[in-house]
Each structure stands twice: as structure tokens, then as C-alpha cells.
Assembly symmetry: C2
Homo-oligomer: 354 residues x 2
DNA sequence: CTGAAAGCGCTTACAG
DNA sequence: CTGAAAGCGCTTACAG
């Protein structure tokens, strides 16, 4: 299966372009890289040659020669991602990550690469170290829980690779992009309070996550502002899982003085709330309002379609890429950036029952 | 933002390993590439040096030197993918594609890269040509509709890049991986026939797709085998869209002698069937059975959860990667491969009503 | 504004 | 079994 000579055109290189345009190789390089100091007539001649030959620079060669990779690397938690994928339970986090990242990178002539890394500290360190050594990315984006791993942050810092975190984090020379979780929970709660709900349950995911705590805080703030005491706020953890959420909601709905609205920390738990409501003969939203935090594709098709806080995942990755590309080019871009969320109102929320 | 000398360790190269192990650079290269002809004692010494230095080869340099990229490129239709992503309507096709592809590639020391290409012929050709010139992948996987585009196939053939198609296709030196669509529709139909259904509707997506025609054929074969005439088979097109599917199903259910079961060509249309059934006061599955072709994450959470044919997307991409890697290494791997599907039985199908 | 030289970090023939 | 040389296709200083 050897390539026979003459079997097909040899790949066209920068020297072919230089020869055709009658200039030196590095002048062509200047045009490719939009460097200044090329006479217009020469530039045009070179551009024509490029066009005519269909020349596109070999990216690996550019990386080798210039020490730039034109690559932003996005890292996700391996175990969790694989588990979701193999259960056919992909939410669209990865999709939105690629959407925002690929689109933004392309604008700048960059590529986005997506890799998985384990959470266990030793493995995480080794795996990220290897990936970075092999790929030499110009920037790395870390998502939770990696974004909170000091060893990984230090590794990237030591190798002078600009690093972005999709999380609200403090300290260090990073690009931090996040959504205002506290504010989103506040808005979701306000939406329900305006409908007259006076007993609201917050079905949280996992209280060990900083996000979960921030949301809970926003929820409490909204209730407090309305002058509602602690008794108005029902809370419990469904650990992001359908079955566990079902149990918690069942308990709530069969207790005396049940909540008239539920805010769920993710869509899967919101689905569970819908199922339990139906089993208990409660109509949504007339007997019970449900609102979710996530807005994955399926929520438009539930009965009824779910009102939800939409995470700006794509926008966050786009922003992180844009900033990292700036930083890798020597520009000024470190810092923290909040990206706005949206409350998508559908049919699962309505006035509180009498 | 220059890297100051001494600011951090210089990247370790193959020469550092060679120096530490006291051998030449190409002997280290042999160990990295698992070539034969290295004395065991020397191999061990080198492996220790690699371990000690934490050396990982620079992938771009390997690509430059060896003419191999260790890269498999998966191409999706740009417009459709972006449209789904921006509508927040990602099914998990991309997820499963990455799942199967990344996992398999990693086993062989390869990477998977994912890119989008437009459908319009001129753009498609130009874009694929550019990507291939920049990245020099060792293999490319084309999905519909690109997998049926003769220009793209020819382009890859001319550049001697092994090409895989995720589609049932004929002719050419390709790796073709597909699922038995006709057989899957046959199985879905059998499932309903065993429940005693004698009037079944097939809600097809878009009859211009070869897959759609194959499924319809499987459906008809199952009914014919049971001795049911044309009148038992109701068919219509919902064009893969919720609203259009709603209209079709509404018509069916309000007509005299309505079907007692519906097979939908994708999940979105199955969701629509569920909504219309509910509006018409029909219980699923006691009054109407529904079965879908796709099995995206949301179907486990509908009321009731949907019985569905599960597309083996990850398995198809894994297979394609494995074969392409073999072919790119000079091995024998071209040909057509069928990957088994699964009928996932949940709660939306049951005995036909009296 | 343009070019000749050196080098990025590997691998592939080719010697021995 | 091991090594010295050449080359992959670019970019980066450095001259002019």
C-alpha cells in the first residue's frame, strides 16, 4: 500500500508558491502571516500564486517552525463524560462547548481540540502533562472539576501556557469565564414569586459544588427579599440523578403543606419532578410549577415543556477562546468575565394554586 | 509577554533522552515507535530515561519527520450541525461520534479531530481540500450527505487519504460502516405485530434519503410476511420536524379506522406523536403504541419512556477509525461492515387495544 | 521592502 | 543491533 511516485500530485509547499511568484520563501511566509513590509504588487502576485496552486500551509510545519500551534485545547472530566456518553445520556454540554469553541477559533485561524482527563490527582497531572507535551497548545480551557485543581493550574503556569477556567474562580493569572449562578437562581425564584408562590422547594444537585451553593444563596436571597422566612424554603439534594430526585420529590409532595413550586438544579431532576407530579395526580403547572437549570434539548418536548434557566455554554467557551488567543499572541486578556444567562419561559410554570 | 529564559524548564526533547540514556537519537526513536532491533538492555535504559524526564514526543515534529499525522478526521455537515447546536437541539450524534472515535483512536496512539464542512458542492470541495492540506490526516470519515458526494470522495482518493463512510454505499476503495436500516425497521414492526397490532403507521422523515427508503421497505416486508395487505400500512412524512409530524399524526388519529401503533423515523417526531395522543385523550400504550428510530437521551424521560431502535453511532465510528488506522498503516481493511442495532423496549409499546 | 541561513524535533533511508 | 546524515515545511532572527 505504498504511495507510488506519480500516483498523485506531490503536496504543494511554500517553495512552490515562492517559485511561481518569483520571490523567496520568507516573503510568502509574510503574506501567509499577514506581516507588514510586503510591497502591494508583490503581495498580489503571491496571493495569485497561492490561489492558482490551491496552497494551504501545512499546520504541523508552522507549529514546528514558529513555536505556535494555533490550537486551543478544551479539557473535560473523563469519567463523567464517558459515563454520560455510554449511557446515551449526553446532555449538550459537549456540543455547546464545541459550538462556541470551534466557531470562535475558526475566526482567528485557530483550531479547537477536545480531550478527556481523569479526575484522580495523579492521573490528571500525568494525562494533562502528556497531552500538553504532545500537542503544545497555545491555550487550555479547564472545566469543573479540573478548573479547581491547583496542580493542573500550576502545571500550565509553569509551562507558560495561557489557561482559561469555565468557573467562577479567584486568584492567579487566568481567563475566568462564568455565568452568574446566584443571579440565575434569584431570577428563577423571582419568576415563581411573581406567580404568587409562597412555598418553594429547591432540589439541589450536589451541595459540595460551589455552583450549587451559589444557586442556593440566590434562592434564599429572593425569598428573604419577599419577607418570607425559612419555612417558605424547602431544600433537598437529588444528586443530579433521576431516581434520587424522584424520592426527594415524593417525600415533599406527600408531606403536609407541600411546596407549590420546585426549582431543579438540572434537567434530569426536573424530569423526575414531572414524573412524580403525574403519579400523584398533580397537574403541571396548575397544581405544581417546575423550573429547571440547564435547558438541554429534551426539555422542549416534555409534557408540558419546561421553563428553564439556559446556561450560556457556547458563549462562555467562545469568550474563553477569544481571550486565550489574545493572550497567546502577547495581548492583554487575563481576568474574569461574566456571561449573561437567560430564563426561557415555557409551560411548566404558572400561578400558584389557591 | 515573552518567555524569559530560565522562567521555566525548556521542553524536553528526544535528544535529552538520548543524552541521558547514552545512545543516539534514532535509537530512542525506535523505542518510541516500538520498532524492532533494539537490545533489551538498551531499551530499558531508554525507557527509564523517558520516565525520568517525563518525555513525550512532540506530535507536530513526528508529523513533519515521518509523514504520518496520527490523526483521523471526522467530518459533519456544517449547516445542519450548527443549526442544531444553535437551536440547543443537539441530539447526541456528535457526542456518540466523539465517544466511539476518540476512544478507538486513543487505543492506537491516534487523535480524532472533528470538523464541519458545508454541503454546497463548491464550498464542500474547497473546505475539505483546505482542511486536508492543513492537517494531513491519516484518514477521513465522511457522514451523510458528504459520504455520497463523488467530488469529495475523488479528492480524497487522489490525495491517497483513506476514507471511511458512515453509510451504506457501493463501489470504490472505502471503509463503509453502516447499520442495517431495513432490518431495524423490520424488527420494530415485528415488535408491534407480536403485540397484535394490525394497523400500523410509519411516520417517515424524508423519503429522499436512502435510509428512509430502506426503513420503509423493512416495514412493508414485516407486514407482508404477516399476510397483511397494503391497507394495514399507513404512511406519511413528517420531515423530521415536530410541528409537521404533529399535523400528520393529528390527521391519522382523527380519521376513521385510525392506526393503533406508530413508528417514527426520529425521536422528535415520536415526541410529537406523544403530544398529539395526549391531546386526543389517548393513553400510551393502551390506546396507541409509539416506537422511535434514534434513541436520543430525552426518550428515557418522556411520559411514558419511549421504546426505540438505538443507532450504534459510537460503534460505527469506532469501527471506521479502527479500519482506517489499519489501512493507513499499510494493512488490509477496506470493505463494508454492518454494525448491529438494538431495539430498546421501554413503556410506549404494548398490546393492541381490543 | 526582501532574502540567505539556521533551526524547530522528529523520522527515514542508508551505512556499518 | 546502532549511529551519522539528510530532510520534512515552515518561521525566526539577522543582513542588506
Amino acid at each position: 500500500m505504498e504511495k507510488r511516485a506519480g500516483d498523485h500530485k506531490r503536496n504543494v509547499t511554500i517553495d512552490d508558491v515562492a517559485a511561481l511568484a518569483g520571490v523567496s520563501r520568507q516573503t510568502v511566509s509574510r503574506v501567509i502571516n499577514r506581516s507588514p513590509n510586503v510591497r502591494d504588487s508583490v503581495r498580489e502576485r503571491i496571493e495569485q500564486a497561492i490561489e492558482q496552486l490551491g496552497y494551504v500551509a501545512n499546520l504541523s510545519a508552522r507549529r514546528m517552525g514558529g513555536g505556535k500551534s494555533f490550537l486551543i485545547l478544551a479539557i473535560n472530566d473523563k469519567a463523567r463524560t464517558i459515563e454520560n456518553w455510554s449511557a446515551g445520556r449526553g446532555n449538550d454540554w459537549v456540543d455547546q462547548m464545541l459550538f462556541g469553541g470551534m466557531t470562535e477559533c475558526q475566526k482567528h485561524g485557530f483550531h479547537m481540540s477536545f480531550e478527556l482527563v481523569d479526575t484522580e490527582p495523579d492521573q490528571a497531572r500525568k494525562q494533562l502533562s502528556d497531552i500538553v507535551a504532545a500537542l503544545r497548545p497555545d491555550g487550555v480551557i479547564l472545566t469543573p472539576p479540573h478548573s479547581d485543581n491547583p496542580e493542573l493550574l500550576e502545571l500550565l503556569e509553569r509551562r507558560a501556557i495561557p489557561c482559561g477556567r469555565i468557573a467562577r474562580s479567584e486568584g492567579g493569572a487566568f481567563v475566568d469565564v462564568y455565568m452568574d449562578e446566584e443571579g440565575a437562581a434569584y431570577e428563577a425564584s423571582r419568576h415563581l414569586l411573581r406567580f404568587g408562590h409562597r412555598r418553594i422547594a429547591f432540589l439541589s444537585g450536589n451541595p459540595t459544588y460551589a455552583n450549587a451553593r451559589a444557586r442556593l444563596a440566590g434562592f434564599r436571597r429572593a425569598l428573604a427579599e419577599e419577607g418570607l422566612g425559612e419555612s417558605a424554603a424547602v431544600t433537598g439534594s437529588g444528586d443530579f440523578h433521576f431516581e434520587r430526585a424522584e424520592d426527594v420529590v415524593s417525600d415533599w409532595l406527600s408531606a403536609p403543606n407541600p411546596p407549590t413550586a420546585i426549582i431543579a438544579d438540572n434537567d434530569e431532576m426536573a424530569h423526575a419532578a414531572l414524573h412524580v407530579a403525574r403519579r400523584n395526580g398533580l397537574a403541571v403547572p396548575s397544581d405544581l410549577s417546575v423550573i429547571s437549570f440547564e435547558d438541554t434539548p429534551g426539555v422542549r418536548f416534555t409534557l408540558p415543556p419546561l421553563t428553564a434557566i439556559r446556561q450560556p455554554t457556547a458563549e462562555m467557551f467562545a469568550k474563553a477562546c477569544e481571550r486565550l488567543i489574545t493572550v497567546s499572541g502577547g495581548g492583554d486578556g487575563l481576568g474574569a468575565y461574566a456571561v449573561p444567562f437567560t430564563l426561557v419561559v415555557r409551560d411548566s410554570t404558572g400561578p400558584a394554586p389557591e
